[in-house]
Symmetry: C2
Subunit: 406 residues, 2 copies
């Protein structure tokens, strides 16, 4: 044992004695962020929608006109290509998969008898992978490069294997790496030849407005690119206000081609007589338009940025000279991907746990929970206070140092 590793162990032991108790396992907004939307608690002045619909009653499965217009503005699409439904986009993604499995998407047969496969850029979002695993869709990992999924691999796979029915994409500030897809990658995804005629891009635009810098990254718009490339029905875009207003009580949107919107509306109409339109009215009142949403997101960023900076500062200070360790510096989103030397992620997470810090389980960012190199740790700085997150980052760094020394 060298002096350096002895020191790492000693520092970790001291840290552990502080008796911290911190849950950093999920990307939950902090209470201060939720406070930004407390105007949602205000009484509505009424419940008539723009078209005269009584928002308290049944109906209007596609959502209120003003809610569709709001998301249309945010997504750069005509309101007619947007439906607003549910309180969470995850549920809309799940239901797209269900309808595709049991009924098939436009131009295809039900997936359920076809041993369907999805491509999964990794590391990625665990809840995407859980949907596939739970509902019987096989997953294939594809590497996520700095500019998005490795398109040479993706193009080759989808061109030859008709059982590949879809692909998960978080195109901007990807969970957990913060990756931003380049315009070229977006265009290749839109234009690539797929052996399956009913291939779908599940385009989770979860962090579209969730910037951490003034750069306010913009990328090519997938629906327009798919239309230009002659594949108008390929992409289904998902967005929500979960990390704009309230995480459990927001509104969500699905956007796609007219054919996909008609398909969705038909199938969602079997499940429900209409969404919670009162909550849509509340959100339209709070969020108004693109400028209002952007101003709100700037306030979120002001709360989040110091927490990200604190984590990055601790990592730089503690891990800057540790061989094989790196981390992402995201321009938006909710996560930092801490990359350890192969085989050190699980051990680091276990050591952090002993020191009172709960992290997302190792492997969570991979299909079936298996990180083949055991080298990725998802850091979620949003929920803890600035003091807590600073301490936690120190603890994680110390745990990692002990893990690589051992």
């Amino acid at each position: 044992m060298t002096t350096a590793t002895h020191s790492a162990q000693a520092q970790y032991d001291l840290f552990r004695q502080r008796g911290l108790k911190l849950d950093m396992s999920r990307g939950k907004p902090a209470p201060e962020q939720l406070d930004l939307s407390n105007d949602l608690l205000d009484a509505l002045p009424g419940f008539s929608a723009a078209d005269g619909t009584d928002a308290r009653n049944y109906g209007l499965g596609v959502g209120l006109p003003e809610a569709r217009a709001l998301f249309g503005g945010l997504l750069g699409l005509p309101a007619a290509q947007v439906v607003v439904d549910s309180s969470a986009s995850l549920s809309l993604m799940h239901d797209v998969i269900v309808y595709a499995l049991l009924n098939g998407v436009p131009g295809g047969q039900p997936w359920v008898g076809q041993q369907p496969v999805f491509l999964c850029p990794v590391p990625g979002y665990d809840r995407h992978f859980s949907i596939c695993e739970a509902r019987g869709i096989k997953m294939i990992n594809v590497p996520l490069n700095d500019d998005g999924p490795d398109m040479d691999i993706v193009e080759q796979l989808v061109a030859t294997d008709a059982s590949i029915k879809g692909m998960w994409c978080v195109p901007k500030y990807s969970n957990p790496s913060g990756t931003v897809y380049s315009d070229e990658v977006v265009r290749r995804l839109a234009a690539m030849k797929t052996a399956a005629p009913d291939f779908r891009l599940m385009w989770d635009d979860a962090y579209r407005f969730h910037h951490l810098t003034d750069e306010n990254v913009r990328i090519a718009e997938i629906i327009a690119e798919c239309a230009s490339a002659g594949n108008p029905d390929r992409a289904i875009v998902f967005a929500s206000t979960s990390k704009v207003s309230w995480a459990g009580s927001g509104i969500a949107a699905l956007a796609s081609s007219p054919a996909n919107i008609a398909w969705w509306t038909r199938h969602a109409g079997i499940r429900s007589i209409g969404p919670d339109k009162i909550n849509q009215l509340r959100h339209v009142r709070l969020l108004k338009d693109v400028a209002t949403v952007e101003a709100l997101m700037t306030r979120h960023a002001a709360l989040l940025k110091p927490k990200f900076d604190a984590v990055l500062a601790q990592f730089s200070a503690q891990l800057g000279d540790v061989a094989g360790v790196s981390w992402t510096v995201p321009k938006g989103g909710y996560f930092i991907d801490l990359v350890t030397p192969p085989g050190a992620a699980k051990k680091t997470i276990a050591l952090a746990k002993e020191a009172g810090i709960t992290l997302t389980p190792a492997g969570a960012a991979y299909p079936y929970g298996v990180d083949p190199e055991d080298s990725h740790i998802r850091i979620a700085p949003s929920f803890p206070s600035l003091l807590e997150i600073t301490q936690a980052a120190e603890g994680i760094a110390l745990a990692l140092k002990v893990a690589v020394a051992g």
Copy 2:
């Protein structure tokens, strides 16, 4: 042509000239009923749940403790056997079917490969049948007698055919006939032998509190009966506030055995990180407890009863002496079933349409939209005003008289 039928035609023609325009196709609450819950618009005093949960954030897929307790009280069950989720029970029913199809219920394999069949007491609720039709479950009609489904037929079918995986039941004030299941029928459903080990009763307790008389009908409790009969996992009960508070913005509950609740929670947790808990808080604040809900339902009944009475009075006056015509006199619920001589329902509905009255399509109360005798018309008196509904009932009666005369 007799004088009587000539007179019917003349009366109908006169009615038609009034140029009415009335949609009676669905059982929507009237605006005055929705007004009863306008306190939901009031600002909440806060967003902390009974257990300290911040209702604005992710999590708690089973619902807030106080919302589960509220429904537990309403359903006569421990809160632990109740989950509160979504804004509509129809969505919970749909998702139970989806999880059963793709994953199987406790004690069974996925239904999707087994050519599953459901028994459907008829006439019944069209949206139940739409779920089966859309998701690939075959339906078999069983007669709905005055005391519930014909149990001799049901018992014989489920005992011999293992592909029969479930049955739709609206046990009280059934849609559209207002039928109340007798305690004996409830007990036979709970105790009957089923060839399928994974048979489920989809128990849509949609009108549990929706009385139209002071009798406030109570029936045997299916979950307790199933447990007593040694079939604890057989029944899944659904309820909601859709016709208690607001039809589009209520809260819904699913209740069942601990094993089914665990199963549901696991599968719903794949679809969502948690329900809209703020709306649950709002509802707990408005609805408080069983006594408060019962008082509210008395006010609904006071608005609905005169409308039902007006329809019944018109039918008695116009149709009392028409051979082969009858109608139900419900003690609760939202519908009257107008029974015509065989072959007259479609024609009556078409004639009513010409006179400006939109009714639920003929056959809607039957699987696949096919009423084998073409003799049932669902009357939904709730939404129109008292004047409108009185006129509409007159017009429907006149249309029926012309239909049977022609």
